[in-house]
Subunit: 229 residues, 2 copies
């Protein structure tokens, strides 16, 4: 059913027409664009890139499908645009030592609340098999995350360790969002978080192979900011 088909036509005679980011004007290019983007995110997340059709997306957005090509050029470009939005914000606004936990909680929170959520991870995971824009985006984004994470470790293979941690994130998301394996899919984020952070505590530091003479257990005193009592 159409979820946004009736709040479109509204008279602007009461307010100032100068508000450029305002709610839907009768012929609002920017609003249409964002509606298409949002609908595309939902459809890509549900069906994956190949199975999603531009007619589906246009129908969900309540626009003519030709507009999709006017605004984005092609279906593939639409996917790229969808994946590009909101990717790096977390990276910029989170201190590195809390980055992994924040990303993990984001992954864990993604599946439950469908309304409002962008479900970007689902788009990645469901489109990663084809489209070859998804793997590239995931690789690029993952490399930035891994680089930030690798700075936490003084090990020479810090990047590898960080990527292993990122791989776990993706795998958990895969199992929960796409595969839906129980009890993982319905498990409490807190419980998963605790298990994963505990297991990775050594990996993201230097506990393994302290070959360069650093104190092997020295980082244990420098505890990560953990909210559990």
């Amino acid at each position: 059913m159409d979820t946004s088909g009736e709040t479109r036509r509204q008279d602007r005679s009461d307010g100032s027409p100068a508000s450029e980011e305002a709610a839907h004007r009768p012929r609002d290019a920017r609003g249409t664009r964002t509606r298409i983007l949002h609908a595309a995110g939902a459809v890509f997340a549900e069906r994956g890139y190949e199975a999603a059709t531009v007619r589906d997306i246009a129908g969900r957005a309540g626009v003519n499908q030709a507009l999709i090509f006017r605004y984005f050029g092609s279906k593939k470009a639409l996917l790229t645009e969808v994946m590009a939005q909101g990717g790096k914000e977390q990276l910029l606004h989170t201190p590195p030592d809390r980055l992994f936990e924040t990303a993990l909680r984001g992954v864990l929170a993604e599946d439950g609340g469908e309304p409002g959520s962008d479900r970007l991870l689902a788009v990645y995971l469901r489109s990663i098999g084809s489209a070859d824009a998804a793997p590239e985006t995931v690789r690029a984004l993952g490399e930035e995350y891994a680089a930030a994470l690798a700075a936490l470790s003084s090990a020479d293979d810090g990047t590898l360790r960080a990527q292993l941690a990122m791989a776990w994130l993706l795998g958990i998301g895969l199992m929960r969002v796409v595969v839906g394996q129980e009890p993982l899919a319905s498990a409490e984020p807190e419980e998963i978080c605790r298990h994963v952070l505990t297991a990775l505590d050594g990996l993201l530091r230097d506990e393994v192979l302290p070959r360069d003479g650093r104190a092997p257990a020295g980082r244990a005193a420098k505890r990560r900011p953990d909210e559990r009592p």
Copy 2:
């Protein structure tokens, strides 16, 4: 390029025709079936289910595409058949306490050697976004692995822990095989194996929340069977 187009027509007058799994006889239903299965595995692994076409598969197998439907009925049934082959053998022939490490090494060995390898994991990962036969198969297989792994732990959430471990396997495979993120994709299996097994050592046992009175720090002494010196 056709890799198997010339060794098909061979006279069987020299050998015994009773060998049922033998090389290609002129009109060999079983051989054709296996050729289709093998080609389908390769194409599904490379392109994913949706992007793979039966014409591709038929071409790679060197058969007419109508034969695919005669032998398997539909493209989806072909995928199911491809995924079904060889899934549980490892589960049956590996003792549980070595199961995870064996599966991990299988995942790590899958990407490099393309010729000969079945690349079953790549089929799973690339087809998991759509086709909805892949998620079901992965879920079913994963549940059996997790159940076997859960028996190793006396914790009441052993299944959850096992599934978290399986999720890491899938995630690592995703990053290596599909995304191809460096340095993870080219890292030595031994190195990854060491990191992962070390990190998961506590998860698959009872270190977390030793509420039932087991020794909390006992895992340092109770070492896992590790091949590293």
